[in-house]
């Protein structure tokens, strides 16, 4: 290896020294020990590169980027699609699968028996495929799909729902009259607004943990012909989404999530 070849190779040597173990680098570094001119050049190169590296690595990152990324990933990955390799392996055994099926059937039977003993209010578990979702609701679902696949981002990302409500109010977007009890304990992810027939609609997204999210859609329903009921939520589904809609005061709201209907029920207790 001559000096010119060594310079060519050492030009790719990261200033932190991470490449010291690379065989090409080792040979070039060896030459610096016997060639004073090469060593002087290399020290100058390291100084220059260290400074550039430090500056590039300290370029500021937008403070909301991390929250946006996590929120978007949660929206784009429904709970039903996240399997662990362990569960995939578990179902490979037919006998274990059979035993699991028996246990599951027993659990479902127990759940339904419990359901029968409750009062007759409809639940997310026995909801029907939707024909009742209004345009503002399907528009919100489409917006959540856009958030999930990165076509759009939150208008404001924050774990503080009070900050989101304040932002929405400042931007003349509707906010909920009140939040269902369990939701008040959740951290928010962000909010997004859309317009439906000239009427603003708000979406507030909450973190359910375990890479799940739940979303509250709010509209001022004054003048709308088919507002959801006031006394108990109406459960419906649209694709993978499970929804619960109700009205309170002059607001109509829809709570929705993907996956397990029981997640939604727990939030409306």
């Amino acid at each position: 290896m001559n000096q010119s070849e060594a310079k060519f190779i050492l030009g790719a040597y990261r200033p932190s020294g991470r490449d010291a173990g690379d065989p090409q680098m080792t040979a070039a570094l060896e030459l610096t020990r016997t060639d004073a001119d090469l060593d002087a050049w290399f020290q100058s190169e390291l100084t220059f590169d260290s400074t550039l590296a430090r500056e590039v690595q300290s370029t500021p990152v937008p403070p909301t980027l991390r929250a946006d990324l996590l929120a978007g990933l949660r929206l784009s990955t429904p709970a039903a699609e996240t399997e662990s390799p362990r569960s995939r392996g578990w179902f490979r055994s037919p006998w274990l699968a059979l035993a699991a099926s028996v246990v599951l059937l027993a659990a479902i039977a127990g759940y339904w028996l419990d359901l029968v003993n409750r009062k007759s209010a409809p639940t997310a578990s026995n909801q029907t495929t939707s024909d009742h979702l209004e345009g503002w609701q399907t528009g919100a679902i489409e917006m959540l799909a856009s958030l999930g696949d990165g076509r759009t981002r939150f208008d404001k990302a924050s774990p503080d729902v009070a900050a989101l409500k304040s932002w929405l109010q400042d931007h003349n977007a509707p906010t909920p009259v009140s939040l269902p009890g369990p939701i008040r304990n959740l951290s928010s992810l962000g909010c997004k607004t859309l317009t439906w027939h000239g009427r603003p609609v708000s979406i507030i997204c909450f973190d359910l943990g375990n890479d799940k999210a739940v979303h509250l859609v709010v509209i001022d329903h004054r003048g709308l012909p088919d507002a959801p009921p006031e006394n108990s939520p109406r459960y419906e589904s649209r694709g993978a989404w499970i929804t619960a809609s109700w009205s309170e005061g002059d607001r109509s709201m829809m709570l929705l999530t993907k996956g397990d209907p029981r997640d939604l029920e727990k939030l409306l207790l």
Partner: protein, 180 residues
Amino acid sequence: MEIDFQELVDAHYAPLYRFALNLAKNEFDAADLTQQAYYSWAAKGQQLRDSSKVKAWLFTTLYRDFLGKRRHSTRFPHEPFEPGENEPPSEQPSVAGRMDCRTAVEALSRLDEDYRAPLTLFYLEEFSYKEIAEVLGLPIGTVMSRLSRGKEFLRQMLRPAEGRSNIIPIQPQQQGGETP
């Protein structure tokens, strides 16, 4: 393959964004490129069997996405830095130690993308020269050549005001390696 979303984001989002910023040269597109890389992973990358390859997968995906968008975009005119044609930045650091982020990153952003992409990955120190070649889909020799010439261009742009003549050399001084 089990990879926690939060761990994946925390491990790579900052360098990924910085790479995107140097490619796209504006924060909005850089954030979009970063988000899109993660969404692509959520959609397709989970099929990746080797979890140690996730970082390279994300950077490669982001770079390809950038190239794809750039082909269809007219928002970012191509303004490569060529010695003798471009004026250096107005602030002239005297020595490397006085470079500030805006000057160094600004100089980097003025390079042609062929140099900017490998140099950014090099200065992020996330990848070796061999891994940079894989991310960018280039031969190793090409990466090393572009690192060498790119640094020469950077030195020219960041050269101190004192000692500079008004004549900007057409060719960089022969300090680095030569293209094989």
